[in-house]
Amino acid sequence: MSKYILELKNITKTFPGVKALDNVNFQLKAGEIHALMGENGAGKSTFIKVITGVHQPNGGEIYLNGEKINIKNPNDSKDLGIAAIYQHATSYPHLSVTENIFMGHEKIDSSTKRILWEDMHKAAEKHLQELGAEFDPRRRMSTLSVAQQQIVEIAKAISTNAEIIIMDEPTASLTKTESEDLYRITEKLQKIGTSIIFISHRFEDMYRLADRVTVLRDSQYIGTWGVNEVSNKDLIKAMVGREINQLFPKTEKEIGQEIMRVENLNRKGFFKDISFSLKEGEILAITGLVGAGRTELCESLFGLAEYDSGKIYFENQEVKINEVRDAMKLGIGYLPEDRQEQGLILDWELDKNITLTALDKISKNGWINRKKEKSIAKKLAEKVNVKARSIFDLAKQLSGGNQQKVVVAKLLTSDLKVIILDEPTKGVDVGAKSQIFEIMSDLAAQGYAIIMVSSEMPEVLGMGDRILVMRNGEITAKMNVEEADQEKILEAAMKEKK
């Protein structure tokens, strides 16, 4: 009857003080893959939560197969054949993978209502295999890596046999190869008739998968295009509202003296024999597949986890980094991988978040000077260009990209020499990404040495001066950016040893 399987008209959703969706329209054709794009905070996640019944819209209508429907809670949408993979993991860390996949729609014996565990484990194993994952479904969710957890989320959506699957930034924590797996699965789903809404900040994803793309900006519907009908430049302009000339703004700079040197660093079970050196003004990109041990390396460099053996030299002096304070005293800053869990105190105002790393600076004999605190916070928030009303906004009110900028601002409170950035652009929109890169280049030009962990090839090639590739806890290649290309890096990242 209708040519759209799902249609939303004039959806409006306000949160106290925030209008997250303003008269948004959207149409999903049966069997298509539809990309939803837009800046951080544009309202994408809110939009899908309206579809799945997590949020109730303040106005507007939803039609499924031409019929007006009313989705009051997540169960309704599940019953209607809609499944979603949310942006922030919705897993149960204490439970097994199987249970995470089947929670709420467990396989039960039709007469006794008894849960059939063995059947479920088998089915889960099958779903995981389809996704190219090798881990056992009896494992506890919390023992999985971020990427593995993401795969479980996907398996969860598939297991409901939904007609419409919504994926909110599923590739954000995946590397290239894993993303490929995901593409394959998505296409397979499309082939059997599933309609898919796909949210991503990666253009790559969109071009590879989507048939059509809808853009939201500042809570408003901007437009829908066929992916092949619209130019990259126009799309960016639609999303950001301005033109971005340079995504990787590498400025001229001077690479100075060696500031840090790592020799044969080992941590049993995580990484071994890591050696590299780092110079002032240099951006050292560390890449590799998920699970290569990059985060663990960073954590040891920052004193969060002890290394077993090896040496670290800082300004040609051997140093021992036992705890975070040691690293901070040396002038090392760390931007963690998970900004919500590790980087921010979500219930706090921006100013307190920003100054948490620099309490010594805003206090005298332990007494906090609020005036000084506010002025430092304001200065830094403006420096990284956070989109906020005031420094008293709560961190949790910001969108992902802006939250990331606040974490960057936290780093800048200290007198740093070395900055370690772990996946700094994960889940960050193009606009914010370019700003973060701009800040990075700026810092490098000012003489800061930067270690950037990233799984994104263009980023690594675009921003890095030198590139380290890790595989299974070891460095498998070191190269200058001039001599690097995608193939070389991939080969080193996937090289089978033994």
């Binding site: 149960y92 860390p93 204490h94 709420g104 008894r114 849960i115 494992r139």
Partner: protein, 335 residues
Amino acid sequence: MSEKSSENKMSLERIQQIREFSLIGFIVILSIFVQFRNSNFLTMSNIDDLLTNTAILSILAVGMMMVIITRGIDLSIGANLALSGMLTSMLVARYPGLHPIAALLLGTLIGLISGSIIGLLVAKFKILPIIATLGMMNVFRGVTFLISGGKWVSAYQMSDSFKAISTGSIFGINNLILIAVIIYIVFYYFINYTRTGRKIYAVGSSPDSAKVSGIDVTKITWMVYSIMGSLAGLSGVLWVSKFASAQSNTAAGYELNVIAACVIGGISIAGGEGKVTGLISGVLLYGILENALPMINVSPFWQNAIQGAVILIAVIVSALIKRRIGSSNKIRRED
């Protein structure tokens, strides 16, 4: 690859099993030690006493386990138990003909009502469990004082059939043990093999996730406190029947014993974690301590300290074992 996955397969279940084994090992060592000091310890009759005396604690512990899994706590169970025990026994004193089953149901019902009030406060009004149950503990206790008017209900006022609830036996097994076993079987099945049971874990493991995946967190929370209340009510009847006396300060502070048994049994206060099998060993260890200390002639002044030390050692040892397994598991992943 298959080798790797079979190794991984062990991780979740293995950790918990080994933890339980370590606790059981601890129990065995303790038992042997006590047996050495008093040869009456491992006799049938003493084991029977031990189980009978632990039955009520164990029933309460099942309820508490579910509450704790949802990240809650219930400090009101002692007061709830006293209230339903008192009301039921006052009724029994007035109507001696009351059938024991009716008394049990009545006590359970009173407990259910009390528990569902707490559930309402926690689930609907979002009052933190520790506050809601602390407040209601006072209220229940006060109400019990008031309705009893400071009087106790004594053995001679209770009908024989009522007292027989806890002294009687079927197939030579004391009713209390039997009731506890039935409750354990029912809840083992409920927790592990029904959807509602699994939702308890989901709510405790991540309330936010539960909410977005359509689990009615409010309902589950409410249910859990209502079950806890019902079990406390049932225990109230069993208690007054067992001791043939109802006082208004019955079981004061008993909630701490129950919580202690739960945590020894590996129920994590942070929620989401805990198994019935683990709980059984926790309850057993607690019961043995209560039973054994009087039997080995330690000075009464030492009993507290020994009990505290044993609990501390038990939880620390099991934490260390868990940690050991956890870390070797991680290293194993490397190759």
